[in-house]
Amino acid sequence: MKQKKEDIHITGYKNYLLVWLGLMIFTVLTVAVARIDLGSINFLAAMLIASFKALLVITFFMHLLYEQRLFKIMVFFSVVTLAIFIGLTFFDVPFR
């Protein structure tokens, strides 16, 4: 069987270029934000921006947007698992 035309979604080059532009802007933004001292907000901002960038890469470059729902659920679960591992460990370290 061939990889059928109808179940695939071909993203246009222009859209990819736009995503790339977005990623670039975020990169500049994160470097800029790091230059100003905002205390603990700095870390939060850096992680937030990184997460946005990651989201862009996953949804468009990695095509998750056009995959079955099952794939989205799986990705979500894996990320949550990692978050739980890190989160529960933090019930130890700061409370010692």
């Binding site: 069987m1 061939k2 990889q3 695939i8 071909i10 993203t11 246009g12 080059y13 990819y16 270029l17 995503v19 790339w20 990623l23 670039m24 990169t27 994160t30 470097v31 790091a34 230059r35 001292d37 700095n42 870390f43 850096a46 992680m47 921006i49 990184a50 960038k53 990651a54 890469v57 996953i58 468009f60 470059f61 990695m62 095509h63 995959e67 079955q68 099952l70 794939f71 799986m74 990705v75 894996s78 990320v79 698992t81 990692l82 591992f85 890190i86 460990t89 933090f90 370290v93 700061p94």
Partner: protein
């Protein structure tokens, strides 16, 4: 849940992609263990991490970020190109991706080289004379960027194979799941760097 149509066929494209995604989850948790360690030590040794990060070149880090993001773009375009049957563009874009990967590694090489030249590498007396936080910062820096670098190298090999397969016509507009999966891997490598960059180069 009706998969009747795919069962009899020899090649299951969705299955192949599912396998790749599952593999990426294990990769995510592999790096996840390191992110966990990083988070704990950054929490315990904030000062040391700041000091260590100050020594890293933000410029080198930013350049590498731009390189990797752009390589992700070329990777994505190469897949779109093969889907549309544009083999030439696909090959050109793949080549560009491989070259960007090489540029990333060269940059990394100089970055590590400079640090090692200054006597800052795991277990070096110079490094151990610092406080614990800085020692751990550099320990993690070498391990995490090292493991990431290893993934970049593997990606280069993988993409070179894909280049060959496209060149030979074994990947074409009707059967391109291998290229898609390599693309997924490559974007994942980019994804990890998106987090490594602020974690190591941008602590204030």
């Amino acid at each position: 849940m009706n998969n009747t149509s795919t069962i009899e066929s020899h090649k299951d494209y969705i299955g192949a992609k599912m396998g790749m995604w599952l593999f990426l989850f294990t990769e995510l948790l592999l790096f996840g263990g390191l992110f966990l360690i990083y988070a704990v030590y950054r929490y315990s040794y904030h000062g040391g991490f700041q000091a260590g990060s100050g020594e890293l070149s933000t410029i080198a880090g930013t350049v590498n970020t731009v390189i990797l993001i752009t390589s992700s773009l070329t990777m994505a375009v190469s897949i779109s190109a093969i889907q549309r049957g544009n083999r030439k563009l696909c090959l050109a874009m793949l080549l560009a991706t491989i070259l960007f990967a090489a540029a990333f590694m060269v940059n990394k090489y100089f970055e590590w080289g400079a640090k090692i030249h200054h006597g800052i590498y795991p277990g070096s007396p110079e490094l151990l004379s610092n406080d614990h936080g800085t020692v751990l910062f550099y320990g993690l820096y070498y391990v995490m960027t090292g493991l990431h670098g290893l993934h970049v190298l593997v990606g280069m090999v993988l993409l070179s194979i894909m280049f060959f397969l496209v060149y030979r016509g074994r990947i074409d507009s009707t059967d391109f799941v291998k290229l898609e999966n390599s693309g997924l891997y490559w974007h994942f490598v980019d994804l990890i760097w998106i987090f490594l960059f602020p974690l190591f180069y941008l602590i204030t």
